[in-house]
């Protein structure tokens, strides 16, 4: 039966148990690190290819960062034959239950091609309708240009139909899309500057 609870026995037991457990965890971590990274990259890549027009480069390796009001935003340029055909921009805003991260795709002219949700913690059944598979909310943005389609919910004087009973979520979503558009404009500016200096 159980050993006597002397100080020496207790130290040896606890030390042994934690040592074995941490060694085991180290092994599993090392084994799963590759697949976990691969799964993350696969997820980002599938989000990129679902939001931007056809491309033939690897947007993940061409990734660059744009600084907007002190925050870094990831921009994945999509190129076809060396020519930029669009950008996938990762953007986020605070929703009802936490951060909503989305990937917004723009074509070269600045129209939204598609939007995909990367992660969110909105209420199931209410706010989670921002996911394209759960409602047509996100579809209303496709093909619109933020220049003539005001990205604000109708309650706030914009053009976006909010999700019923999820105004906060819808507002945050719009905010994230607008931020992505700001980032897009900034990247356009910077790339045109570059062209000027190249000449």
């Amino acid at each position: 039966m159980a050993k006597e609870s002397s100080m020496k026995n207790m130290l040896i037991t606890l030390g042994g148990v934690t040592l074995i457990a941490s060694a085991l965890l180290g092994c599993v971590y090392a084994l799963t690190k590759g697949p976990i990274d691969a799964a993350m990259i696969a997820k980002t890549n599938s989000a990129i290819s679902s939001v931007v027009p056809d491309f033939d480069n690897d947007p993940s390796s061409d990734l660059f960062k744009i600084d907007l009001q002190g925050k870094d935003f990831k921009v994945y340029p999509a190129k076809k034959g060396g020519e930029i055909v669009g950008y996938a921009i990762e953007s986020y805003a605070s929703g009802f239950g936490g951060r909503i991260s989305i990937m917004v795709g723009f074509d070269a002219k600045g129209s939204i091609t598609n939007i995909s949700v990367l992660s969110h913690t909105e209420t199931p059944g209410l706010g989670d309708k921002i996911e394209p598979s759960k409602s047509s909310f996100s579809a209303q943005f496709a093909g619109k240009s933020p220049e003539d389609f005001k990205i604000l919910v109708k309650k706030d004087g914009g053009d976006v139909d909010a999700i019923t009973a999820s105004t906060i979520t819808s507002r945050a979503y719009c905010e994230a899309v607008s931020t992505a558009y700001e980032v897009f404009k900034k990247c356009k500016e910077e790339s045109s500057k570059k062209e000027v200096t190249n000449e």
Binding site: K3, M10, A21, L25, T32, P124, G125, A165
Partner: protein, 196 residues
């Protein structure tokens, strides 16, 4: 006690959700749909079986005063292994359950079975007990998830068969309590009939 009895005991007589009412946090939190309930139940079953087996085999070596910390380390190690494996090989499921996986560590059922059963019984019996209790937990979570999904989003296992939204309250936290309450009534009625 026969081997089969060890398994069925966990499913009906000692069902962790409907009889022992243990592990209510993941029960109420994850059961917004039947598939989530099933996933969480199977994850807990995996941890239960392994931790029961390991604890039963090492309980003779552990001094009485440090047994709880030792058990918790064993359980936490298995939960972390499970979390890493899920993240690597089932990223979709990990996304919906990810937040609740670490909570398995503090799930009373797992430590409860380690203390009440595994530390006093041989390895094979402890594994069977883990399977039984785990299946009982999975069954409870799946039923609760199915009821909430059916009433709350008018679908079952993600398949929608009515157009419309269902009663939202069942997806939210109050609906979890209401649904669990009524399920307790039904289960206890069924159990008392069975024992007669």
């Amino acid at each position: 006690m026969s081997k089969l009895n060890l398994i069925t005991k966990g499913i009906i007589k000692d069902n962790p959700i409907f009889v022992l009412l243990l592990g209510m946090c993941p029960t109420l939190g994850t059961t917004t749909s039947a598939i989530n309930g099933l996933g969480m139940g199977l994850a807990t079953t995996f941890v239960l079986i392994l931790s029961n087996m390991v604890i039963s085999s090492i309980s003779g070596l552990i001094p009485n005063k440090v047994r709880i910390p030792s058990y918790i380390v064993v359980i936490a190690a298995f939960v972390t292994i499970l979390q890493l494996l899920m993240q690597a090989y089932t990223p979709g499921l990990y996304e919906t359950l990810g937040l609740f996986i670490p909570l398995i560590v503090v799930n009373c059922i797992v430590l409860g079975r380690a203390e009440a059963f595994a530390s006093k019984n041989p390895v094979s019996d402890s594994a069977l007990d883990g399977i039984g209790i785990g299946l009982g937990f999975t069954l409870g979570l799946t039923i609760l998830g199915a009821v909430r999904e059916l009433l709350g989003s008018a679908s079952l296992f993600g398949i929608k068969f009515i157009n419309g939204d269902g009663m939202l309250v069942f997806i939210l936290a109050p609906g979890a309590f209401i649904a669990l309450g009524y399920l307790l009534v039904v289960f206890n009625k069924f159990k008392s009939k069975l024992s007669k």
